[in-house]
Amino acid sequence: MSSDIYAALSPEEWSILALSLKVSLVAVAAILPACFCIAWMLARWRFPGKLLVDALVHLPLVLPPVVTGWLLLLLFGMNGPIGRWLSDVFGITLLFRWTGAALAAAIMAVPLMVRAIRLSIEAIDTRLESAAATLGASRLRIFFTISLPLALPGVLAAIILGFARSLGEFGATITFVSDVPGETRTLPIAIYAAMQMPDGEAMVTRFAILSTMLSLGALMLSEIMVRRIAHGGRHVI
Protein backbone atom coordinates (compact mmCIF):
# COMPACT_ATOMS: atom_id res chain seq x y z
CA MET A 1 0.00 0.00 0.00
CA SER A 2 2.59 2.52 1.07
CA SER A 3 4.86 1.47 -1.77
CA ASP A 4 1.97 2.20 -4.14
CA ILE A 5 1.73 5.72 -2.80
CA TYR A 6 5.46 6.12 -3.12
CA ALA A 7 5.35 4.90 -6.70
CA ALA A 8 2.70 7.49 -7.58
CA LEU A 9 5.49 10.03 -8.04
CA SER A 10 8.94 9.64 -9.52
CA PRO A 11 11.99 10.27 -7.29
CA GLU A 12 12.47 13.60 -9.05
CA GLU A 13 8.87 14.52 -8.30
CA TRP A 14 9.25 13.53 -4.66
CA SER A 15 12.27 15.79 -4.36
CA ILE A 16 10.28 18.67 -5.87
CA LEU A 17 7.54 18.07 -3.31
CA ALA A 18 10.12 17.89 -0.51
CA LEU A 19 11.72 21.14 -1.67
CA SER A 20 8.32 22.84 -1.80
CA LEU A 21 7.55 21.73 1.75
CA LYS A 22 10.96 22.88 2.96
CA VAL A 23 10.63 26.29 1.32
CA SER A 24 7.12 26.80 2.70
CA LEU A 25 7.95 25.65 6.22
CA VAL A 26 11.02 27.86 6.45
CA ALA A 27 9.12 30.81 4.97
CA VAL A 28 6.31 30.53 7.51
CA ALA A 29 8.59 29.88 10.48
CA ALA A 30 10.81 32.83 9.59
CA ILE A 31 8.03 35.33 9.06
CA LEU A 32 5.68 34.24 11.88
CA PRO A 33 7.22 36.29 14.73
CA ALA A 34 7.25 39.43 12.58
CA CYS A 35 3.64 38.80 11.54
CA PHE A 36 2.62 38.42 15.16
CA CYS A 37 4.30 41.69 16.16
CA ILE A 38 2.72 43.57 13.26
CA ALA A 39 -0.68 42.03 13.98
CA TRP A 40 -0.35 43.01 17.65
CA MET A 41 0.58 46.57 16.72
CA LEU A 42 -2.33 46.88 14.33
CA ALA A 43 -4.81 45.32 16.75
CA ARG A 44 -3.75 47.05 19.94
CA TRP A 45 -1.75 50.16 19.34
CA ARG A 46 -2.69 53.57 18.09
CA PHE A 47 0.14 55.35 16.36
CA PRO A 48 0.61 57.82 13.54
CA GLY A 49 1.04 56.08 10.22
CA LYS A 50 -0.96 53.04 11.27
CA LEU A 51 -2.99 53.28 8.06
CA LEU A 52 0.24 53.22 6.06
CA VAL A 53 1.56 50.17 7.92
CA ASP A 54 -1.76 48.42 7.36
CA ALA A 55 -1.62 49.23 3.65
CA LEU A 56 2.02 48.14 3.34
CA VAL A 57 1.23 44.82 4.99
CA HIS A 58 -1.55 44.19 2.49
CA LEU A 59 0.48 45.36 -0.49
CA PRO A 60 1.73 41.90 -1.60
CA LEU A 61 -1.92 40.84 -1.78
CA VAL A 62 -2.79 43.39 -4.47
CA LEU A 63 0.56 44.15 -6.10
CA PRO A 64 1.25 42.09 -9.23
CA PRO A 65 3.51 39.26 -7.98
CA VAL A 66 6.00 40.07 -10.75
CA VAL A 67 6.43 43.51 -9.22
CA THR A 68 7.07 41.99 -5.81
CA GLY A 69 9.60 39.64 -7.38
CA TRP A 70 11.21 42.46 -9.28
CA LEU A 71 11.51 44.56 -6.11
CA LEU A 72 13.09 41.58 -4.35
CA LEU A 73 15.51 41.24 -7.25
CA LEU A 74 16.43 44.93 -6.99
CA LEU A 75 16.98 44.72 -3.23
CA PHE A 76 18.37 41.23 -2.76
CA GLY A 77 20.04 40.62 -6.13
CA MET A 78 23.82 40.45 -6.62
CA ASN A 79 23.84 44.20 -7.23
CA GLY A 80 21.03 45.09 -4.83
CA PRO A 81 21.93 46.98 -1.65
CA ILE A 82 20.72 44.28 0.75
CA GLY A 83 21.87 41.41 -1.46
CA ARG A 84 25.40 42.79 -1.66
CA TRP A 85 25.51 43.48 2.07
CA LEU A 86 24.31 39.97 2.92
CA SER A 87 26.87 38.45 0.61
CA ASP A 88 29.78 40.68 1.75
CA VAL A 89 29.12 40.47 5.48
CA PHE A 90 27.61 37.03 5.94
CA GLY A 91 28.37 35.27 2.69
CA ILE A 92 24.66 34.66 2.22
CA THR A 93 23.25 34.53 -1.29
CA LEU A 94 19.50 34.50 -1.76
CA LEU A 95 19.39 34.84 -5.53
CA PHE A 96 18.74 31.56 -7.37
CA ARG A 97 18.79 29.77 -3.99
CA TRP A 98 16.00 28.03 -2.10
CA THR A 99 16.41 30.62 0.64
CA GLY A 100 15.43 33.25 -1.91
CA ALA A 101 12.37 31.21 -2.82
CA ALA A 102 11.52 31.09 0.89
CA LEU A 103 11.91 34.87 1.14
CA ALA A 104 9.56 35.44 -1.79
CA ALA A 105 7.04 32.98 -0.35
CA ALA A 106 7.28 34.62 3.08
CA ILE A 107 6.65 38.13 1.72
CA MET A 108 3.63 36.88 -0.21
CA ALA A 109 2.25 35.13 2.88
CA VAL A 110 2.49 38.20 5.14
CA PRO A 111 -0.94 39.73 4.39
CA LEU A 112 -2.83 36.50 4.99
CA MET A 113 -0.92 35.68 8.15
CA VAL A 114 -1.13 39.14 9.70
CA ARG A 115 -4.83 39.25 9.00
CA ALA A 116 -5.58 35.91 10.63
CA ILE A 117 -3.51 36.73 13.72
CA ARG A 118 -4.91 40.23 13.99
CA LEU A 119 -8.48 38.95 13.95
CA SER A 120 -7.73 36.54 16.76
CA ILE A 121 -5.97 39.23 18.83
CA GLU A 122 -8.93 41.53 18.36
CA ALA A 123 -11.21 38.73 19.51
CA ILE A 124 -9.39 38.47 22.85
CA ASP A 125 -11.51 39.78 25.69
CA THR A 126 -9.28 42.48 27.20
CA ARG A 127 -11.25 42.22 30.45
CA LEU A 128 -9.53 38.87 30.99
CA GLU A 129 -6.17 40.61 30.73
CA SER A 130 -7.16 43.24 33.28
CA ALA A 131 -8.44 40.48 35.55
CA ALA A 132 -5.02 38.84 35.32
CA ALA A 133 -3.41 42.18 36.17
CA THR A 134 -5.44 42.53 39.37
CA LEU A 135 -4.25 39.04 40.30
CA GLY A 136 -0.69 40.33 40.26
CA ALA A 137 0.45 39.19 36.83
CA SER A 138 3.13 41.21 35.05
CA ARG A 139 2.59 42.37 31.46
CA LEU A 140 4.88 39.61 30.26
CA ARG A 141 3.04 36.96 32.23
CA ILE A 142 -0.31 38.25 31.02
CA PHE A 143 0.95 38.04 27.45
CA PHE A 144 2.21 34.49 27.74
CA THR A 145 -0.55 33.04 29.94
CA ILE A 146 -3.62 34.91 28.68
CA SER A 147 -3.19 36.80 25.41
CA LEU A 148 -1.05 34.34 23.50
CA PRO A 149 -3.02 31.19 24.38
CA LEU A 150 -6.27 32.96 23.50
CA ALA A 151 -4.81 34.10 20.17
CA LEU A 152 -3.44 30.64 19.44
CA PRO A 153 -6.23 29.45 17.11
CA GLY A 154 -5.59 32.50 14.95
CA VAL A 155 -1.86 31.87 15.00
CA LEU A 156 -2.46 28.27 13.90
CA ALA A 157 -4.82 29.43 11.17
CA ALA A 158 -2.15 31.90 10.05
CA ILE A 159 0.47 29.17 9.94
CA ILE A 160 -1.74 26.92 7.83
CA LEU A 161 -2.87 29.70 5.49
CA GLY A 162 0.66 31.02 5.14
CA PHE A 163 1.93 27.54 4.46
CA ALA A 164 -0.69 26.93 1.79
CA ARG A 165 -0.01 30.32 0.23
CA SER A 166 3.73 29.60 0.20
CA LEU A 167 3.20 26.22 -1.45
CA GLY A 168 1.36 27.95 -4.27
CA GLU A 169 3.68 30.92 -4.66
CA PHE A 170 4.75 31.37 -8.27
CA GLY A 171 4.97 34.87 -9.73
CA ALA A 172 7.30 36.58 -7.26
CA THR A 173 9.41 33.43 -6.95
CA ILE A 174 10.06 32.89 -10.65
CA THR A 175 10.80 36.59 -11.09
CA PHE A 176 13.21 36.70 -8.17
CA VAL A 177 14.98 33.32 -8.19
CA SER A 178 13.99 31.90 -11.59
CA ASP A 179 13.88 28.16 -12.16
CA VAL A 180 16.85 26.24 -10.79
CA PRO A 181 16.06 22.53 -10.47
CA GLY A 182 16.80 21.31 -6.96
CA GLU A 183 17.07 24.86 -5.60
CA THR A 184 14.06 26.92 -6.59
CA ARG A 185 11.97 24.52 -8.68
CA THR A 186 9.01 24.30 -6.33
CA LEU A 187 5.71 22.66 -7.16
CA PRO A 188 4.13 25.53 -9.15
CA ILE A 189 7.36 26.22 -11.04
CA ALA A 190 7.74 22.53 -11.84
CA ILE A 191 4.14 22.49 -13.09
CA TYR A 192 4.83 25.49 -15.27
CA ALA A 193 8.03 23.95 -16.65
CA ALA A 194 6.27 20.63 -17.28
CA MET A 195 3.51 22.45 -19.13
CA GLN A 196 6.11 23.63 -21.65
CA MET A 197 7.29 20.10 -22.36
CA PRO A 198 5.65 18.10 -25.16
CA ASP A 199 5.21 15.06 -22.88
CA GLY A 200 4.72 16.91 -19.59
CA GLU A 201 0.98 16.34 -19.42
CA ALA A 202 1.08 13.40 -17.00
CA MET A 203 3.37 15.20 -14.58
CA VAL A 204 1.22 18.33 -14.72
CA THR A 205 -1.83 16.24 -13.90
CA ARG A 206 -0.20 14.50 -10.92
CA PHE A 207 1.14 17.76 -9.53
CA ALA A 208 -2.14 19.57 -10.09
CA ILE A 209 -4.01 16.90 -8.14
CA LEU A 210 -1.41 17.01 -5.39
CA SER A 211 -1.56 20.82 -5.15
CA THR A 212 -5.33 20.83 -5.07
CA MET A 213 -5.40 18.27 -2.26
CA LEU A 214 -2.79 20.14 -0.22
CA SER A 215 -4.55 23.49 -0.63
CA LEU A 216 -8.00 22.11 0.05
CA GLY A 217 -6.79 20.36 3.20
CA ALA A 218 -5.05 23.49 4.44
CA LEU A 219 -8.09 25.68 3.84
CA MET A 220 -10.40 23.31 5.67
CA LEU A 221 -8.00 23.05 8.58
CA SER A 222 -7.69 26.82 8.85
CA GLU A 223 -11.48 27.21 8.63
CA ILE A 224 -11.80 24.92 11.64
CA MET A 225 -9.30 27.10 13.48
CA VAL A 226 -11.18 30.27 12.57
CA ARG A 227 -14.40 28.75 13.87
CA ARG A 228 -12.66 27.97 17.13
CA ILE A 229 -11.67 31.61 17.43
CA ALA A 230 -15.26 32.67 16.94
CA HIS A 231 -16.32 30.36 19.76
CA GLY A 232 -13.33 31.09 21.96
CA GLY A 233 -14.23 34.76 22.04
CA ARG A 234 -17.53 34.01 23.71
CA HIS A 235 -16.15 31.70 26.34
CA VAL A 236 -16.00 34.31 29.06
CA ILE A 237 -18.12 33.03 31.90
Binding site: L128, S130, A131, A133, T134, A137, V236
Partner: protein, 208 residues
Protein backbone atom coordinates in the same frame (compact mmCIF):
# COMPACT_ATOMS: atom_id res chain seq x y z
CA UNK B 1 -1.71 60.58 61.01
CA UNK B 2 -3.97 58.89 63.58
CA UNK B 3 -5.87 55.73 62.92
CA UNK B 4 -5.38 54.32 59.41
CA UNK B 5 -8.45 54.71 57.31
CA UNK B 6 -9.65 51.48 55.71
CA UNK B 7 -10.85 53.47 52.72
CA UNK B 8 -9.88 57.00 51.84
CA UNK B 9 -11.25 57.62 48.36
CA UNK B 10 -11.97 60.85 46.59
CA UNK B 11 -12.07 60.41 42.85
CA UNK B 12 -13.85 61.62 39.78
CA UNK B 13 -13.80 60.65 36.17
CA UNK B 14 -15.83 61.79 33.22
CA UNK B 15 -16.85 59.13 30.77
CA UNK B 16 -18.73 60.17 27.64
CA UNK B 17 -19.95 63.41 29.22
CA UNK B 18 -21.14 61.62 32.37
CA UNK B 19 -19.32 62.33 35.60
CA UNK B 20 -18.61 59.49 38.00
CA UNK B 21 -17.48 60.62 41.43
CA UNK B 22 -17.17 59.22 44.93
CA UNK B 23 -15.89 60.50 48.22
CA UNK B 24 -15.53 58.06 51.12
CA UNK B 25 -13.33 58.34 54.17
CA UNK B 26 -13.90 55.73 56.83
CA UNK B 27 -12.15 53.33 59.19
CA UNK B 28 -14.93 50.77 58.90
CA UNK B 29 -13.80 47.51 57.24
CA UNK B 30 -16.84 47.02 55.00
CA UNK B 31 -18.21 49.69 52.71
CA UNK B 32 -21.22 48.97 50.51
CA UNK B 33 -21.76 51.05 47.38
CA UNK B 34 -25.43 51.05 46.51
CA UNK B 35 -27.35 52.84 43.81
CA UNK B 36 -29.21 52.26 40.60
CA UNK B 37 -27.45 50.46 37.80
CA UNK B 38 -25.50 52.64 35.41
CA UNK B 39 -24.47 55.08 38.08
CA UNK B 40 -20.85 54.03 37.90
CA UNK B 41 -20.40 51.66 40.85
CA UNK B 42 -18.31 49.22 38.83
CA UNK B 43 -16.19 52.07 37.46
CA UNK B 44 -15.31 53.01 41.05
CA UNK B 45 -14.12 49.43 41.70
CA UNK B 46 -12.12 49.53 38.45
CA UNK B 47 -10.43 52.74 39.62
CA UNK B 48 -9.55 51.24 42.98
CA UNK B 49 -8.20 48.12 41.24
CA UNK B 50 -6.18 50.27 38.86
CA UNK B 51 -7.86 49.06 35.68
CA UNK B 52 -9.13 52.52 34.82
CA UNK B 53 -7.57 55.79 35.81
CA UNK B 54 -9.45 58.57 37.59
CA UNK B 55 -9.21 62.03 36.06
CA UNK B 56 -8.26 63.39 39.43
CA UNK B 57 -8.29 62.57 43.12
CA UNK B 58 -6.72 60.03 45.39
CA UNK B 59 -7.26 56.46 46.54
CA UNK B 60 -5.79 55.00 49.71
CA UNK B 61 -6.71 51.65 51.22
CA UNK B 62 -5.62 50.56 54.66
CA UNK B 63 -3.24 53.52 54.85
CA UNK B 64 -1.52 52.78 51.55
CA UNK B 65 -1.85 55.25 48.71
CA UNK B 66 -2.70 53.52 45.44
CA UNK B 67 -3.39 56.63 43.41
CA UNK B 68 -2.86 60.33 43.87
CA UNK B 69 -3.14 62.69 40.92
CA UNK B 70 -1.44 65.55 42.81
CA UNK B 71 1.48 63.41 43.98
CA UNK B 72 1.65 61.64 40.58
CA UNK B 73 1.21 58.26 42.19
CA UNK B 74 -0.44 55.55 40.09
CA UNK B 75 0.40 52.09 41.30
CA UNK B 76 0.07 49.43 38.57
CA UNK B 77 -2.83 47.02 39.15
CA UNK B 78 -0.48 44.08 39.64
CA UNK B 79 1.06 45.75 42.70
CA UNK B 80 -2.17 46.83 44.37
CA UNK B 81 -3.03 43.34 45.60
CA UNK B 82 -6.76 43.79 45.15
CA UNK B 83 -8.96 40.72 45.40
CA UNK B 84 -11.39 41.72 42.70
CA UNK B 85 -14.48 39.58 42.13
CA UNK B 86 -15.91 40.83 38.85
CA UNK B 87 -19.61 40.88 38.19
CA UNK B 88 -18.94 39.04 34.93
CA UNK B 89 -16.46 36.77 36.82
CA UNK B 90 -13.81 36.74 34.09
CA UNK B 91 -12.63 33.20 34.66
CA UNK B 92 -9.91 32.32 32.15
CA UNK B 93 -11.67 30.14 29.56
CA UNK B 94 -8.53 28.26 28.52
CA UNK B 95 -7.64 27.12 32.04
CA UNK B 96 -9.29 24.58 34.25
CA UNK B 97 -10.78 25.68 37.57
CA UNK B 98 -7.64 24.66 39.43
CA UNK B 99 -5.39 26.82 37.24
CA UNK B 100 -7.84 29.69 37.56
CA UNK B 101 -7.74 29.43 41.35
CA UNK B 102 -3.96 29.29 41.46
CA UNK B 103 -3.38 32.09 38.94
CA UNK B 104 -2.91 34.79 41.58
CA UNK B 105 -0.95 32.67 44.10
CA UNK B 106 2.19 34.38 45.22
CA UNK B 107 4.81 33.07 47.58
CA UNK B 108 4.18 33.83 51.20
CA UNK B 109 0.40 33.89 51.02
CA UNK B 110 -1.13 32.73 54.28
CA UNK B 111 -4.56 31.92 52.85
CA UNK B 112 -4.99 28.16 52.99
CA UNK B 113 -6.18 26.54 49.79
CA UNK B 114 -8.15 23.75 51.46
CA UNK B 115 -9.95 26.22 53.74
CA UNK B 116 -11.09 28.29 50.79
CA UNK B 117 -12.16 25.26 48.75
CA UNK B 118 -14.00 24.01 51.76
CA UNK B 119 -16.05 26.98 52.72
CA UNK B 120 -16.84 27.86 49.08
CA UNK B 121 -17.74 24.23 48.36
CA UNK B 122 -15.74 24.08 45.13
CA UNK B 123 -13.29 21.28 45.91
CA UNK B 124 -15.01 18.95 43.44
CA UNK B 125 -14.79 21.43 40.55
CA UNK B 126 -10.99 21.61 40.26
CA UNK B 127 -10.75 19.68 37.00
CA UNK B 128 -13.70 21.27 35.27
CA UNK B 129 -13.51 23.89 32.52
CA UNK B 130 -15.12 27.26 33.28
CA UNK B 131 -17.61 26.80 30.41
CA UNK B 132 -18.99 23.70 32.18
CA UNK B 133 -19.79 25.51 35.44
CA UNK B 134 -23.21 26.74 36.51
CA UNK B 135 -23.58 30.44 37.28
CA UNK B 136 -23.33 29.86 41.01
CA UNK B 137 -20.30 27.58 40.67
CA UNK B 138 -18.50 30.09 38.48
CA UNK B 139 -19.26 32.84 40.99
CA UNK B 140 -17.78 30.82 43.85
CA UNK B 141 -14.68 29.98 41.81
CA UNK B 142 -14.26 33.70 41.05
CA UNK B 143 -14.47 34.50 44.76
CA UNK B 144 -12.01 31.70 45.50
CA UNK B 145 -9.54 32.98 42.92
CA UNK B 146 -9.64 36.45 44.48
CA UNK B 147 -9.18 35.12 48.02
CA UNK B 148 -6.34 32.77 47.10
CA UNK B 149 -4.31 35.64 45.66
CA UNK B 150 -3.82 36.84 49.23
CA UNK B 151 -5.41 40.26 48.71
CA UNK B 152 -4.81 43.31 50.90
CA UNK B 153 -8.41 44.28 50.29
CA UNK B 154 -11.43 42.93 48.41
CA UNK B 155 -13.53 44.45 45.68
CA UNK B 156 -16.79 42.56 45.33
CA UNK B 157 -19.11 43.45 42.47
CA UNK B 158 -22.58 41.95 43.05
CA UNK B 159 -21.01 38.77 44.43
CA UNK B 160 -24.34 37.20 45.36
CA UNK B 161 -26.01 37.45 41.99
CA UNK B 162 -26.90 34.07 40.47
CA UNK B 163 -26.47 32.27 43.79
CA UNK B 164 -29.33 30.41 45.39
CA UNK B 165 -30.62 31.57 48.75
CA UNK B 166 -28.86 28.89 50.75
CA UNK B 167 -25.50 29.64 49.16
CA UNK B 168 -26.08 33.37 49.47
CA UNK B 169 -26.26 33.15 53.20
CA UNK B 170 -23.10 30.99 53.31
CA UNK B 171 -21.19 33.54 51.27
CA UNK B 172 -22.50 36.41 53.39
CA UNK B 173 -21.20 34.58 56.46
CA UNK B 174 -17.86 34.15 54.74
CA UNK B 175 -17.67 37.83 53.85
CA UNK B 176 -18.48 38.60 57.46
CA UNK B 177 -15.40 36.65 58.51
CA UNK B 178 -13.07 37.99 55.84
CA UNK B 179 -13.62 41.60 56.80
CA UNK B 180 -11.76 40.91 60.00
CA UNK B 181 -8.66 40.39 57.88
CA UNK B 182 -9.06 42.73 54.93
CA UNK B 183 -11.19 45.76 54.10
CA UNK B 184 -13.98 45.16 51.60
CA UNK B 185 -15.58 47.47 49.05
CA UNK B 186 -18.86 45.88 48.14
CA UNK B 187 -21.12 46.84 45.25
CA UNK B 188 -24.78 45.85 45.30
CA UNK B 189 -28.10 47.13 44.12
CA UNK B 190 -29.80 45.30 47.06
CA UNK B 191 -29.72 47.49 50.15
CA UNK B 192 -30.91 44.49 52.19
CA UNK B 193 -27.60 42.71 51.61
CA UNK B 194 -25.71 45.77 52.76
CA UNK B 195 -27.81 46.05 55.91
CA UNK B 196 -27.42 42.38 56.70
CA UNK B 197 -23.63 42.86 56.61
CA UNK B 198 -24.02 45.95 58.75
CA UNK B 199 -21.78 47.73 56.27
CA UNK B 200 -21.21 51.39 55.98
CA UNK B 201 -23.61 52.26 53.18
CA UNK B 202 -22.65 54.80 50.57
CA UNK B 203 -25.38 55.64 48.11
CA UNK B 204 -24.32 56.72 44.68
CA UNK B 205 -26.69 58.75 42.56
CA UNK B 206 -26.46 60.03 39.04
CA UNK B 207 -25.85 63.78 38.93
CA UNK B 208 -27.61 64.59 35.71
Amino acid sequence: MGVAMSFDIDVSRTVGGRRIALTVRTDRPLVALVGPSGVGKTSILDMVAGIIRPDRGHIAVDGQTLFDSDAKIDMPPAERHAGYVFQDRRLFPHMRVRANLLYGRRTGISVDMDDVLDFLGIGHLLHRWPRNLSGGEAQRVAIGRALLSGPRFLLLDEPLSSLDRHRKSDILDAIDQIRMRAPILYVTHDIGEAERLSAMIVTMAGDD
